[in-house]
């Protein structure tokens, strides 16, 4: 682990030049994989994330099927070489927890009741990690689900907020995450319904409230980027035949 910087914010600028309410640069590529039903490659700052979706498809073994709805499965995995010290392949306790809360982040927007006995499988591979992989993974998963054409109430958008040098800031980078005072990953629908929320560190009640409001601003920005990526990808394909062919549900707001 590198040394703790003396200051994280100097003249309103963070170590990488961002303002406190600014996201890292984001690059989205839809459908990079052809075997999966939907996929998305996402660069979020120095994070590199691949997400793929399969389903709804038959769930094996059969005794795990739910007669009333699709079972959502979410697998967050870090490549062995995605961090400085090699990770042993396979599940860790950390990845099991992140997979669980990742799954919980999506069930609300998936019409699981439409697909009893099936599985909707969401796979996240972290290829390069630099703080914020769980929220970046949720953003990529959201786009991969849309890319797979799986009916959703709307997209899920995620970002982390935190506290460094006593200030609430958006989207912690590595140093801010390692040495900062708090980290709050959040995922929301476009309408601000929170489907994922964790926190560690130390915040007063009012700081936390401020953090939540900043998270809403961040998620709104993410949502615009996601929507833009889907429109670029799909408007071209459908535009000639039908202006309305972009499935609104996919890029719309679950809360409207």
């Amino acid at each position: 682990m590198s040394e703790k910087p003396e200051h994280f914010i100097i003249d309103g600028k963070r170590l990488d030049g961002r303002r406190v309410d600014e996201l890292r640069s984001v690059k989205i590529k839809l459908s990079p994989l052809d075997r999966a039903d939907g996929s998305c490659y996402l660069e979020w700052g120095r994070n590199k994330i691949m997400a793929a979706v399969y389903g709804p498809r038959e769930l094996h073994p059969r005794h795990r099927q739910d007669m009333t709805k699709a079972v959502v499965q979410y697998r967050y995995n870090m490549a062995a070489f995605s961090v400085n010290d090699r990770i042993r392949p396979g599940h860790s306790r950390r990845s099991i927890e992140i997979s669980k809360v990742g799954r919980d982040a999506f069930e609300y927007v998936l019409f699981t009741k439409f697909f009893p006995k099936t599985a909707i499988d969401i796979f996240i591979e972290v290829l390069q990690a630099d703080a914020g992989t769980r929220t970046a993974g949720i953003n990529a998963a959201s786009l991969a689900l849309a890319d797979a054409g799986i009916p959703m109430r709307g997209l899920i958008s995620a970002c982390a907020v935190g506290k460094v040098d006593g200030e609430i800031v958006l989207d912690l980078m590595k140093e801010e995450d390692n040495f900062g005072e708090a980290d709050v990953p959040v995922a929301m629908t476009a309408g601000g319904k929170i489907t994922h929320l964790q926190m560690d560190g130390h915040l007063t009640r009012d700081e936390f409230y401020e953090a939540l409001k900043l998270a809403k601003i961040g998620c709104d920005k993410v949502y615009k980027l996601q929507r833009q990526a889907l429109i670029e990808k799909y408007s071209g394909e459908y535009a000639e035949n039908d202006e309305d062919a972009i499935p609104q549900a996919q890029i719309g707001d679950a809360d409207e």
Binding site: R93, V184, G192, T195, M199, H202
Partner: protein, 259 residues
């Protein structure tokens, strides 16, 4: 009548109660079930606590041994938290290695203790980079009566407060109390029928769409949170739970004075 139909009827019953502002066991929405804490119950452990929270019974044992620090934190002690949802505790639990539910519980409790800086980990370093105390927090759920996470959190900090550093056994000086300097308390709410209920019973927990835990410290600050479950929460709901949790934690922290 089938089990499903029974469950449906029971759900409707509880739902209608909540609409009237009531709970099945007569509690207010922000009211905890009875809590009792007994420490020193596991005599081979360096510290232990048996917590009952309503019907829930959890035994937490602390074992401590010397060992190597993590390479990236060479100057502090190590905390390893493990939760076992043993099949004794519930007909739904199965034998085998911890699954995601048990792992989540252990990790949330662990974060609460770690992030609140409740244990002075610097004091657990003996030789930087070489030898530190390793603290094992083992959470043994004996009876699942609902809201395991809060009971596990209470049990863990209670057990740590009762813990002795076993320096003599390892020829490393005199025994001393574990340096504990805060009492983080987890308070869990569920959302049900639009209402927020603290300390869900087993029945309530099964019906909950969302389980949301807030861990607060003695200074009122927040050191950990975890939302799980599939229903979303609004920012307003989140803040209401934060406020309820802060108030409830103060009362729970008073319990520790009685131990």
């Amino acid at each position: 009548m089938s089990d499903d139909v029974m469950a449906e009827i029971h759900r409707d019953y509880l739902f209608n109660l909540v609409l009237k502002g009531e709970r099945d066991d007569g509690r207010a929405f922000d009211e905890f079930r009875d809590i009792s804490i007994e420490t020193g119950v596991a005599g081979m452990a360096e510290g232990s606590a048996l917590v009952t929270l309503g019907d829930t019974q959890i035994l937490v044992g602390i074992k401590i041994q010397p060992g190597e620090p993590f390479p990236d934190t060479p100057d502090v002690g190590v905390i390893i938290t493990n939760a076992e949802l043993i099949p004794m505790a519930s007909p739904e639990y199965e034998a085998g290695p911890p699954r995601e539910g048990a792992i989540e519980i252990a990790r949330v409790v662990d974060r609460g203790i770690r992030e609140s800086k409740a244990i002075d980990l610097e004091k657990l370093c003996m030789i930087e980079g070489e030898k530190v105390w390793i603290i094992f927090i083992d959470i043994h759920v004996l009876n699942n009566g609902g809201n395991i996470i809060d009971a596990a959190s209470i049990g863990s900090i209670a057990a740590l407060l009762s813990t002795t550093l076993p320096a003599e056994r390892y020829g490393l000086g005199e025994d001393s109390p574990l340096p504990v300097r805060d009492i983080p308390v987890a308070v869990t709410a569920i959302e049900f029928g639009g209402e927020l209920l603290l300390d869900p019973s087993l029945e309530e927990g099964k019906l909950a769409g969302t389980v949301y835990t807030v861990i607060t410290n003695s200074d009122g600050g927040i050191s950990g949170m975890q939302k799980s479950g599939i229903e979303p929460l609004t920012i307003d709901q989140v803040m209401r739970v934060v406020d309820m949790a802060g108030t409830a934690a103060v009362k729970i922290r008073e319990k520790f004075l009685e131990v």
